[in-house]
């Protein structure tokens, strides 16, 4: 072999060797890179697995713990999975028998069920489907169902899931409530009519007694002694008190009745009107401190309300210069009114009792003890509250609220 040839071969060999080393180095780097990548992948994989595991446990928990029935079905309505609540509700054990949701439909609700199913397929979900189902033992239950389509990762529908709430008890309660409300309305109506009749019937014997007494008096004019005449006068007064009592009962029985009247009531006009109607003694000054609002309601009832407060204030005024001040403050959800007087005041221990019917603190012939209970009824009607601040001998301030419409 020539020297030149040997040199060429040596150079070739040298290049081959260096190429091999270069290749080894590249491969080593690549394999390190691969190793690192695979470690990272393993870690990520583990994290994903943990996450999946966690989510599966959470879902399983939801599936088992929700109070409602949970059902998973295929696109043809065949139930694939359901929780214990569902098994109890429907009465089927899908481990032993197959169940299609159409088996549960109550015949009368069939077309509603089909239109809801159509909506589910078109829109992917429906809410608050409320209908009856027939369970395995042929009992009928009211249910409310929320349902949605389950898609695979390619967004192709593969089934549906539904949460089924048994609302049978609620339905029954609702029906009961309706009936009771109706009954209540009727008996309220009857009671009012009854009160009306009773008071009317009670008044006529009173009038007869009154007439009889005046006849006795005129028939025996000059024959009766002073004491007898005095007793007759007492009978007259008592009759008057009785008449007033009966009138007030009538008023009270109609005070709480919602007349459904909704008119714009300008309370300033109510007050102006009252000032004309009420007898206001010279020594008492009634002032309205702020312009009053116009609110929706029944004019007569608002008049009754303020009339009772003002006439009470007048009645129980023992001062030389009596003051009655009416004020109002607007809050976000209600108006707060106040009626302040400088009268005799009310002891703390009576603050609750005064709103009870027939509870008059003073035996007076012009006080039946009904006024404030009427006030309370009207305020209840307008979803308001009433309370008071009072100091004996110094005066009383009543506060009440009326809900804004």
């Amino acid at each position: 072999m020539s020297f030149k040839k040997i040199e060429i071969l040596e150079r070739t060999l040298e290049r081959e060797r260096k190429a091999r080393k270069a290749a080894e180095k590249i491969l080593e780097e690549k394999s390190l890179e691969l190793y690192n990548t695979s470690i990272t992948l393993k870690k990520v994989n583990q994290q994903l697995e943990n996450l999946l595991n966690e989510k599966t446990i959470q879902l399983q928990g939801v599936f088992e713990n929700i109070n409602d029935a949970y059902v998973v079905m295929d696109l043809f309505g065949n139930v694939l999975r359901m929780n214990d609540v569902a098994e109890t509700l429907f009465g089927y054990d899908i481990g032993k028998e197959s169940l299609n949701v159409t088996d549960l439909i109550y015949p009368e609700d069939y077309s509603y069920a089909m239109s809801s199913y159509k909506k589910l397929k078109e829109k992917g979900s429906f809410l608050d489907y409320t209908a009856r189902i027939i369970t395995k033992n042929n009992s009928v239950r009211w249910v409310q169902i929320n349902s949605s389509i389950i898609y695979n990762k390619n967004k192709t529908p593969i089934g549906a899931q539904g949460v089924v709430r048994d609302i049978t008890e609620i339905k029954i309660l609702e029906e009961q409530k309706e009936t009771i409300l109706k009954e209540l309305k009727n008996s309220n109506q009857e009671l009012q009519e009854y009160a009306h009749i009773v008071s009317h019937d009670l008044k006529s014997p009173l009038r007869s007694i009154n007439a009889l007494i005046s006849w006795i008096k005129s028939d025996n004019e000059g024959k009766l002694d002073d004491i007898t005449l005095q007793n007759f006068d007492l009978i007259d007064t008592t009759l008057e008190t009785m008449e007033k009592l009966i009138s007030n009962i009538l008023e009270y029985s109609s005070a709480g009745a919602d007349t459904q009247k909704k008119e714009e009531v300008d309370l300033n006009k109510v007050l102006q009107n009252l000032k004309k109607v009420l007898f206001i003694p010279e020594n008492i000054k009634i002032s309205v401190l702020t312009p009053l609002p116009t609110i929706q309601g029944d004019f007569t009832k608002f008049q009754q309300l303020f009339q009772n407060f003002i006439s009470n204030a007048i009645k129980f005024c023992d001062k030389e210069n009596g003051i009655v001040e009416i004020d109002c403050r607007e809050e976000s959800k209600f108006y707060q009114f106040s009626i302040k007087d400088n009268g005799i005041g009310i002891e703390q221990k009576y603050h609750d009792k005064i709103f009870e019917v027939f509870h008059s603190l003073q035996k007076r012939e012009d006080s039946s003890g009904i006024g404030l209970s009427i006030v309370k009824k009207i305020i209840d009607l307008y979803e308001g509250e009433i309370w008071l601040e009072s100091q004996l001998n110094k005066g009383t301030t009543f506060y009440f609220t009326i809900k804004k419409n």
């Binding site: 060429i8 150079r11 070739t12 290049r15 260096k18 190429a19 270069a22 290749a23």
Partner: protein, 179 residues
């Protein structure tokens, strides 16, 4: 440029012209790699140009003809190394027209930094194809060789006309008609 292009090229040179020729063209060229190539490495394209130029000088064969022969040799490398890729095609026209959208996409998966030529299909029928080749390397004859072998692979032949759009060969039209 990928190392396999160099190693296969030098193997072919050795095969056709002997080991002395390999040594000669390496010594005559000014190579950063010093002629040490491994299939998995990456080397500067200018080294291939020098090797081709020196081989052309020493053999009096044109660079284009050298590239043509080299491409025909290189196709067999593809056949052995990537039989799966070829198996996805039933027809040479189909295969050539999808160089840009399929083959090069696959190549990039293996060699992300590869600098590939662009092949734009201008018109295509069942039996004919017109494509524009664009590459700063001007290795259109390498493409031509691969095309010839593609038809051979599918047991057919074609007449392929090459029209230079740019004089330096960086933009060339291939007019392919199946025989």
């Amino acid at each position: 440029m990928k190392g396999i292009i160099f190693t296969e090229f030098l193997d072919l040179v050795e095969d056709k012209f002997g080991i002395e020729m390999v040594d000669t063209i390496i010594s005559q060229s000014n190579l950063k790699s010093e002629g040490i190539y491994t299939a998995i490495g990456t080397y500067n394209f200018s080294e291939m140009l020098q090797l081709l130029q020196n081989l052309s000088n020493n053999t009096n064969i044109s660079i284009d003809d050298l590239l043509l022969v080299y491409a025909e040799h290189f196709f067999s490398v593809i056949e052995t190394s990537y039989p799966g890729l070829l198996a996805t095609y039933k027809d040479p026209i189909e295969m050539l027209s999808s160089i840009e959208n399929h083959i090069h996409v696959e190549v990039r998966k293996i060699y992300p930094e590869a600098k590939l030529p662009t092949f734009i299909v201008e018109s295509k029928t069942e039996d004919s194809l017109e494509m524009i080749y664009k590459s700063s390397r001007a290795m259109h004859h390498f493409g031509l060789g691969l095309m010839n072998k593609t038809f051979e692979h599918f047991n057919s032949t074609a007449t392929i006309v090459l029209e230079k759009i740019k004089e330096d060969g960086t933009e060339v039209r291939f007019i392919i008609n199946k025989n």
